[in-house]
């Protein structure tokens, strides 16, 4: 019964989304407040319908209703409750339903929170959002319905892929989708602005909070995914330049560029066309990501629940929506009047450079991701583009960006003082240089690029702190005055500082981990030893463990450094009974921010006693890789709490900035 209710609510959501798009388009044409109100009600209704549908699906998973095909294929009675719930978005159908829930949710949020938006802009934007909702819901209802029944239903389900049965991965899709789909609001606003023919400071101010929210959620979502890959796949890495990873990274890069260009449009009225272009591109990359991930056209480590035939439908949706958006852009963009002149050395110029570099980096990632498809279509040869390509293209572009980053915030709008900025940064530059030299001198083996990367990380953090000191006039006025000034800084400034520091923390972790990680693999009998980076691990014993839906071999090891007991890692090798798949549970010892990472491999029969293949990794500063993005997302959240960016921003916003 509840499943039927869910199926009905899903169709109702589709009907309401279509009605929302039509009503609001009509409301805009007739300038009718009554129709607009009705349309907003429908947006809310569509969200509530989708919420009911989603809860119904989760319920079907929780009670293991195997007469629902989707549940039978992705759940199992022996699965713990958390993973039965997470199973609801572990399949193709369920994840698209989550996507639609987020899409209508954002529509309802714009309707509810955008009380002070100009009526025309709001009606147009919500009409576009309704159209997006209608298209994706139509796809869900007709091609990817999660409520289809099986008759008769099986007694037991096929279970969710055990690799996905993990807390980080249970949370990863909701965050990622909330981020991906948050960009739909920005897309709708951009299309609405093109229809209205007006892109000004006020428009940029309404777009920024949505971009910020989506960007922060996307940052968290990607980080959770990387964290999962790090400790669940069990081979020590956290980013593989895999197509699926790239398709979440490209919207992030574009959203980052948009975040910065929207500031220029808001503060100075400049770059309106470019900002609109990025707003369209951001969600187009989200849709491209959905297509690449869900269709399985590219071979990926993380491709779960793919379906090539339905992938084509997603490609068509991408073509229509993105194509329509960009067609409108080429038609209307020339009429946008650029405002705000600025000198070559100015904050505007710095942000333009940021955008150029981010756009170039996105383009190289896009090309590298799609090149196997292009090449295969052209020559029929199957190839793969691996990490070396991305390291070669993406890294230098980013290095230039990071090198210039601390300078930007110290330049004034309109006409900046390069010399003045340099004077304020000499301490930071000295510190960065010292860090680079110290790392080069002290760490073994010697790695020049790694040391330069560490210097860059220090430069970002020190540069952000220097900028803060400048704002507080530290050391030039009494300390109390400095604190007062810092306390009165707008939240947006703190958000920026946090985000830039977070990036620096990430760069430190990523460079050090990549440059100086050590690993060792060995077949070890009970009592045997394995060494890595000065740590000596002894395999004490291995015994059987029974979990709710798996059986495992759990090894108990003892890690010592110079005779001192560091920790006793207990890695597992699990055999999931439904499906018969084995997975590894990594054991991680935290040594400050560094990780000693231990994997128990398969049992091998040697002459006499059995041996286990034990792999041990030393991942120095690995914690910073995940901490950095978390700080960045926190910066986004702090910035979002700035009064000027409150979602229901007041009439003041209409006054010229």
């Amino acid at each position: 019964m509840i499943v039927e209710l869910g199926a009905f609510a899903l169709v109702l959501g589709l009907a309401l989304s279509i009605a929302q798009a039509a009503t609001l388009a009509l409301a805009r044409m007739r300038r009718s407040a009554a129709l607009a109100g009705a349309g907003e009600g429908m947006a809310l209704g569509a969200f509530l319908s989708l919420a009911v549908a989603f809860v119904a699906l989760v319920w079907a998973f929780v009670v293991s209703d195997f007469s629902v095909a989707n549940v039978a294929e992705n759940s199992h009675t022996a699965k713990p409750l958390l993973y039965r719930i997470a199973g609801a978005w572990g399949s193709h159908e369920g994840s698209i339903l989550l996507w639609c829930l987020a899409l209508t949710g954002y529509g309802a949020a714009v309707a509810g929170l955008g009380r002070h938006l100009p009526a025309d802009l709001k009606a147009s934007a919500l009409a576009v959002q309704g159209l997006l909702g209608a298209v994706f819901l139509a796809y869900t209802v007709f091609a990817s319905n999660p409520f289809l029944r099986l008759d008769p239903g099986p007694v037991e389900g096929r279970s969710l892929n055990p690799l996905l049965q993990d807390p980080a991965l249970a949370l990863h899709p909701p965050f990622l989708y909330a981020g991906y789909v948050g960009l739909s609001v920005v897309f709708s606003f951009a299309v609405a602005a093109l229809i209205e023919g007006r892109v000004d400071a006020a428009w940029a101010r309404w777009v920024r909070p949505w971009t910020l929210a989506a960007w922060s959620l996307l940052t968290l979502g990607i980080t959770l995914g990387a964290f999962w890959a790090y400790y669940e796949l069990g081979w020590g890495g956290w980013w593989f330049w895999d197509p699926v990873e790239n398709s979440s990274f490209m919207p992030w890069l574009v959203a980052t560029a948009l975040l910065h260009s929207a500031i220029v449009t808001e503060k100075r009225g400049a770059l309106p066309g470019w900002t609109v272009f990025l707003a369209l591109a951001a969600f187009s990359f989200s849709m491209l990501g959905a297509f690449l991930v869900r269709s399985g056209v590219l071979t990926s480590v993380h491709a779960f629940a793919v379906d090539p035939e339905r992938g084509v439908l997603l490609l068509i949706i991408l073509g229509i929506m993105a194509g329509g958006g960009f067609a409108l852009f080429t038609w209307r963009a020339p009429s946008l009047t650029p405002g705000g002149v600025f000198a070559p050395i100015s904050r505007e110029s710095a942000l333009v450079l940021n955008n150029i570099l981010l756009a170039a980096a996105t383009a190289t990632v896009l090309l590298g991701t799609l090149f196997p498809l292009i090449r295969e279509a052209a020559t029929g040869e199957a190839i793969s583009v691996g990490p070396p390509y991305f390291n070669l293209t993406f890294t230098p572009l980013m290095a230039i960006l990071l090198l210039l980053l601390p300078v930007g915030p110290l330049l004034a709008w309109k006409r900046g003082d390069a010399l003045g900025a340099a004077q304020r940064l000499w301490a930071a530059a000295g510190l960065a240089l010292a860090v680079a030299l110290a790392v080069f001198a002290l760490s073994e083996p010697k790695k020049a690029f790694g040391a330069m990367g560490m210097g860059l990380g220090a430069w970002l953090i020190a540069g952000a702190v220097a900028e803060l000191a400048e704002r507080g006039r530290a050391f030039r006025v009494p300390a109390a005055e400095t604190f007062r000034r810092l306390a009165n800084l707008p939240r947006g400034a703190w958000g920026m500082t946090l985000a830039h520091i977070g990036l620096g923390v990430f760069v430190l972790g990523a460079c050090y981990e990549t440059g100086w990680k050590a690993e060792s693999a060995q077949a070890v009998p009970i009592g045997g030893r394995i060494q890595v980076a000065g740590y000596e691990l002894t395999l004490l014993d291995v015994h059987g463990v029974e979990g709710p839906n798996y059986e495992a071999e759990r090894g108990r090891l003892e890690a010592r450094k110079d005779g001192r007991l560091v920790c006793t890692p207990t890695p597992e090798r699990r055999l999931y009974l439904p499906g018969g798949q084995t997975t590894t549970e990594v054991a991680i010892c935290h040594e400050g921010p560094s990780h000693l990472y231990v994997v128990l491999g398969e049992r091998r029969a040697a002459a006499g006693a059995p041996v286990w293949l034990v792999r041990a990794y030393w991942n120095p500063l690995a914690l910073l890789i995940f901490l950095g993005p978390a700080i960045m997302a926190l910066g986004g959240a702090v910035s979002l709490s700035d009064r000027r960016l409150r979602l229901g921003v007041g009439r003041k916003a209409e006054a010229p900035a």
Binding site: N161, L233, G234, W235, F240, S295, V297, T299, S300, V301, A303, F304, A305, V306, D307, P308, S349, V352, L353, I356, L357, A360, A361, A363, T364, G368, F371, P372, R375, E376, E381, A382, I383, S384, V385, G386, P388, Y389, F390, L392, T393, P396, L397, I400, A521, Q522, A523, G579, G580, Q581, T582, T583, T584, V599, G601, R604, A606, A607, V611, R615
Partner: protein, 162 residues
């Protein structure tokens, strides 16, 4: 500077172009270099035999693990044979195999042939799915020499010793 255009808009356009040009040149240059240098070809054993890649050249080798060919040494080395309809290749891999590595299973190994013609794998991908894949589909895919079309069967799991 008299050569600069007079109008402010034109000047700004010139400025933006001046900033874009070097980044564009850098990005395009790096991309071309990267694509010529760091892509790897995908071969089945018979295609590899025909193409005869140089020893040490990094490629991907895909095929079925021949039943009975897997020899696991106590020191962690694994030798096995990857085959397609026409040819087979010996593969040697050091490290933990993917959890779903089995005889008769489709795998993709990344690495290079050594002087002796043994494929030294750095990384082994195994299709990680419990669903049965029909033989015809597998053969059809193999005839096309392409494994990336098998997205319909869930995904891959990868392991490596990088």
């Amino acid at each position: 500077m008299s050569w600069l255009p007079k109008s402010r808009t034109a000047r700004r356009r010139l400025l933006v172009l001046a900033a874009i040009a070097p980044v564009l040149v850098l990005a395009v240059g790096l991309t071309l270099w990267g694509l010529s240098d760091s892509i790897s070809y995908f071969y089945t054993p018979s295609q590899a035999a025909a193409a005869d890649p140089k020893p040490g050249q990094s490629i991907q080798l895909g095929g079925l693990v021949q039943p009975g060919s897997v020899v696991k040494h106590p020191d962690g080395r694994v030798d096995f044979t990857v085959a397609d309809q026409q040819a087979s290749a010996k593969v040697s891999f050091s490290g933990d195999l993917p959890d779903l590595f089995r005889e008769g299973q489709g795998i993709v190994a990344t690495g290079a042939f050594d002087e002796a013609g043994v494929f030294q794998a750095r990384e082994v991908l195994a299709k990680h799915d419990e669903n049965y894949m029909p033989k015809e589909v597998e053969e059809a895919l193999k005839e096309q020499g392409e494994w990336r079309g098998d997205g319909a069967v869930a995904g891959y799991q990868k392991t490596g010793t990088r």
